[in-house]
Amino acid sequence: MSSREKILALVKANQPSLTSLPSLDIPVDVHLDLVENFTFIATNIGSRVMEVSGFDEIKETIAKLFLPGRIVSSFPELADIAEIQLTDPDPHSLANVNLAVLGAELGVSENGALWLSENNMMQRVLPFICQHLALVVNKKSIVANMHEAYRVLGNNNPGFGAFIAGPSKTADIEQSLVLGAHGPRSMTVFLI
């Protein structure tokens, strides 16, 4: 008997009788200002959140905030300051990216996380390997909590997707919080 059959047979023999799944209906707190709360939480976990009027303002802000370096973006609107097409399919070629500007599909008010799917990543490794990450999200796409987020997303995941909440961080050395462990050292959220 293969291990697969052996394991499945054992599990089947040992599992208790079937119980049903609970309902996930939970009332959402409607009094909360979603954008305000998102900004508060995201700032708390180390993100920089800015409301902007459009891509011109994003460009100005980038020029002010970041040192010169390689910028990659999925937005054609940023073609004059960033590479908007990647010619080399090898993810290693992104090792020297200073700033990546990508679009997030939704934001979650209760935890400051943003959902980013492979469709908007250009390369899966990009939002992780860049030194700094900036995500652009529509204010209307901020949902209350994770239940709402999955309700909106459904089962839609092209092949890879991630909730990203702030810059890469660690507290492994005596619980001192250090930003920029392996991934981006900073995270900027542009609310548009």
Partner: protein, 455 residues
């Protein structure tokens, strides 16, 4: 083999250090409380998670098959490992197939459970752990002492010494910022040069065949997206039915673990990127056996948040290594005897049964009850040392005869009052580091008999 009591005694030699360990973990427990109080529906979340997990355990074989079918359809290779050895062999065979001798690994308690690093090292393969805490214990040739905070037992000066020796930082450097930067540079080089990356799995969704990996550092993603081959190792209990259930568990996990609202990265891997190979290894290693043990089945609901350790008064003052098992603390003490009753017979006794662990557990595992039940099993099966077994048996015997219990209680109180040296001596382990209480004038029993008729 030293047991928990002996190992904690070693840990307790350095008292300021024990106090520091205790306080650090308590701080994390307090962060958890603060995060939890911000969620009015917290108890609803716990109950819902617990019920989802009940359903998972009651339908696990079907969910595993469903997950496998979907993962295969997504273009992922699926392997099944009955035990630790088979798991290690599968990983090794994938590495051999690709003629790779170096691998980067992100945090996975399952690979610790299977002793994968030792196995691969013996087979001439170099493994580098990329989670900072894990890398630190790896450099120190130790094992993690906590499932979420692997090097919580180490002082920054000790970490500085290790980094000086292995990563070339300045002697005496202990600033966390500088040490983290050194690790960042060293591990970036590793990520960029490894062709195979292994990650753990926090949740796997039967409905979609995808799996979720949660990290704060982004190390799982750095490894997986740069490598040609991504291997994910998961225990078979990590399955959840539908994608929407992730909403419940992701809300609970990090709030319970560190007090953060969510981990920085919750990555959903569904299919390999173009040109990449993705493997999933489904590991049993005793889990199906635990599923059949009605009293201990619930332990398989564990989502490895670590909050039962952070709150446990015994864990905080004895250190993770005193549990001499991969998963330490209250939940580890339930899981370990399932793997080997003889070797881990001491662990269910390493608890005050105060119930704090069960109170914080996000999936409502009745941890302290299970520890209590393990004690009965282990005594009955003869795995407990004679003194402990005899005192437990005597106690059971005494309690079962009300008159004898009353007499024993009276004698005890009389002895504590009139012959204190009989109780307060080194032979009574309860006297160690404790002042014995002054006995009450009247026992609860006497009080009850006298007062129960009165309103």
């Amino acid at each position: 083999m030293k047991d928990h009591a002996a190992l904690s005694e070693e840990f307790n030699i350095d008292e300021p250090r024990v106090n520091w360990h205790d306080e650090t973990l308590w701080l994390i427990r307090q962060k958890r409380d603060k995060a939890v109080h911000g969620i009015p529906e917290w108890e609803w979340l716990r109950e819902t998670a617990s019920q989802v997990k009940n359903n998972v355990l009651s339908n696990l074989s079907a969910y595993l098959e469903q997950f496998e079918a979907n993962a295969l359809a997504n273009g992922v290779f699926v392997h099944w490992a009955a035990d630790a050895n088979e798991h290690n062999e599968i990983i090794h065979s994938i590495l051999r197939k690709h003629q790779v001798e170096r691998m980067v690994k992100s945090k996975s308690m399952l690979t610790e459970e299977c002793h994968l690093n030792d196995y691969l090292t013996e087979n001439g393969i170099e493994v580098i752990d990329s989670d900072l805490g894990e890398r630190i214990v790896q450099l120190g040739n130790e094992h993690p002492s906590h499932i979420v905070l692997p090097c919580i037992h180490k002082k920054k000066e000790e970490i500085g010494d290790l980094f000086h020796k292995y990563l070339g930082t300045a002697a005496g450097e202990s600033d966390p910022q500088i040490l983290t930067e050194a690790a960042r540079q060293h591990l970036r080089e590793t990520f960029l040069t490894r062709k195979v990356a292994l990650t753990g799995v926090n949740f796997a969704v039967a409905e979609t065949g995808e799996f979720v990996v949660c990290t704060n550092e982004g190390n799982a993603d750095m490894g997986a997206h740069l490598a040609d081959v991504h291997i994910a190792s998961m225990g078979i209990e990590k399955i959840i039915p539908e994608r929407k259930h992730l909403g419940v568990f992701l809300r609970l996990l990090t709030r319970s673990a560190t007090g953060q609202p969510i981990t920085t990265y919750s990555s959903h891997f569904k299919s390999p990127r173009q040109g990449q190979e993705m493997h999933i290894v489904l590991v049993d290693n005793g889990r199906s056996r635990q599923l059949g043990r009605e009293n201990f089945r619930n332990s398989l609901k564990c989502i490895r948040c670590g909050s039962c350790m952070n709150t446990c008064p015994v864990y905080r003052r004895s250190g993770g290594h005193s549990y001499h098992s991969v998963i330490s603390g209250p939940i580890g003490s339930i899981l370990a005897p399932n793997l080997d009753m003889k070797e881990f017979a001491d662990l269910p006794f390493a608890s005050t049964l105060c119930g704090s662990c069960s109170n914080v557990c996000p999936v409502k595992i009745d941890i302290h009850n299970q520890l209590y039940k393990w004690r009965q099993v282990l005594v009955k099966e003869g795995y407990v040392s004679n003194t402990k077994a005899i005192s437990m048996k005597t106690m059971t015997w005494v309690i079962s005869f009300p008159a004898l219990f009353a007499f024993a209680g009276k004698t005890g109180r009389w002895a504590m009052k009139n012959l204190p040296f009989l109780v307060n001596n080194k032979l009574n382990p309860w006297y160690k580091a404790r002042e014995m209480p002054v006995p009450p004038k009247e026992s609860f029993r006497d009080w009850y008999v006298k007062n129960r008729g009165q309103k």
